[in-house]
Symmetry: C2
Amino acid sequence: MYVSSPGQPAAARVFPIEQLIDFITRAYVAAGMPPADARSTAELMIEADLLGSDAHGIFRLPMYIKRVRSGGFNRQPNIRIERETASTALIDGDNAMGHLVVRKAAETAIAKAKATGVAWVGLHHGNHAGAGAVYARMPLAHGMVGIYGAVGSANHLPPWGGIEMLLSTNPLAIAVPALEEPPVVLDMATTVASYGKIKARAQRGEMMPEGWMMGFDGKPLLDPKRSGEGFLMPIGGHKGYGLALMIGLLGGTLNGAAMGRDVVDFNADSSSVTNTGQCMIAVDLAAFGDPTEIRRNVDRVAREMRSAARMPGADRIRVPGEESHRRREQHLTHGLTLPAPLLDILARLADELAIAPLT
Amino acid sequence: MYVSSPGQPAAARVFPIEQLIDFITRAYVAAGMPPADARSTAELMIEADLLGSDAHGIFRLPMYIKRVRSGGFNRQPNIRIERETASTALIDGDNAMGHLVVRKAAETAIAKAKATGVAWVGLHHGNHAGAGAVYARMPLAHGMVGIYGAVGSANHLPPWGGIEMLLSTNPLAIAVPALEEPPVVLDMATTVASYGKIKARAQRGEMMPEGWMMGFDGKPLLDPKRSGEGFLMPIGGHKGYGLALMIGLLGGTLNGAAMGRDVVDFNADSSSVTNTGQCMIAVDLAAFGDPTEIRRNVDRVAREMRSAARMPGADRIRVPGEESHRRREQHLTHGLTLPAPLLDILARLADELAIAPLT
């Protein structure tokens, strides 16, 4: 059994995947979620860890559990298709755990795209759902492209020229299947740097490069300890603002979900209903040509990028998604390493919930 | 009649829209295009001018005419749906003028989205089609969102870490209808600056800010006169590279169109078949809720952005598309101003084609 004691320095440890899924499942069940929903959420969270999106995996468990326990999530939701056409659906998430709602949207999009070639499924009354790549990748196994867009769960970005935080770093994830190559998967927020990166610089006492943050005075902000005096820079300045706005309109406003001033800060408020909106698109390769030939051409393009002449000092050129694909394979074989501070937090959580800890 | 003579300095002149459309139509007919195709292309080119995308309007006529005359375009194309499902189509552009092929894709997407809520139409054997916003805006009149993605017509961008130009600045345009507000329309390339902006700096003898271009040595390139020694920076560094790659896979590879090394430089080569790929998506608001209510919420979000607290020195906050909407209204009423050097070029073109010049 894992016990952290002050006398003995804690160490990172490696866990088999199934053990982590089991732990998360037990935590949610203890917090009042039905076992099947608890298990699904656990799998989707660990999928983020597998892909290397640590900040969206088991790391989030204490925060999610807090929200479940304080009534911020509906523990007995009726996630349902509220409205549909041959190739679209609007899903009412009934304020369920966000992962469950987006999974339903992805499954619905895949089923409809099988029948009509493409499907666009929007949702409202959802919640924070973790890593976009987890959902964008779901159509891959069906020979489809997956696209995911979301209204983020806290406003960190002003419109370009403004200082009022009206937008989130609304993420976009796009996954395209290849043949022999890993799928090409882009999962990006619309800001140059993430708050995680900035916090890490602050901890190391390092300055930030110009272009990561801008002060409310319109000047570059370089000291990460002063991050409260400015905002994350959108990629390409006004372009990133525009992209965050459009993703927000498509993921939020089109679905009757929160967008702009009515976005609830999910991190600061664990009980208000967020009415988070997301959208999922699935596109069947077979609608556009011979799927094998299309995949072979995706391979060719990926290999062209990787083998391009390099800049001095560049050790390699990456194709989006290849690194997370490699990590996923490694983690499935060798397990996931959890750092000591996280193990401490999870041990305390197990104690609070009166469940067996990770052993 | 407009005549440029060396003794008398040329001046910019204002023309009614219909006169410009008529001139372009006559030019294409003289170059061998059927009158209906010539007229459609003229309207789509002038639509770019109306929206303020001067670089994609009548300015391009000499280059397009050169390609028509040298056999780079098929003057008698059979633009047809090669493959379709209820909500998708793949269009074979038969190497027609690009504008005609994308218009066909947009019309097909609108018709299919009326029936099934959403449609995704890809095309191959197309060509350069000008401003993406022209096509993304087409579904607006039908109460739909429009999305346009394209493989650009020349590779200007290496993959991140590389120095080999394997990607174009693949543009993305998204248009969302509002109620009383102008539609929200984003039309962006995936690089921070355009070559047009860089040429303008070089002409004025000014340096570029850091972040516009990077040298092949991996260092910031600040002198616009040395632009041949580096490349345009993608927005957000590796993120913009990823976005350009994904738009290229969706607009090109999915449709069996050129992408990566096989992209033909449209500017340098006026006779090779480009096999350009583009895609159009149309999404019916009515599939997701009461269209009026959705549009009202788009209004609200647009107004929130515009009225956000401003940074010192920022005179206003723009919502993407409002400026081009305003210009379009003004130009429709007051006509379009063509600068003197362009008038000279068009006068010479009229002479070459033996058609009546702009008067």
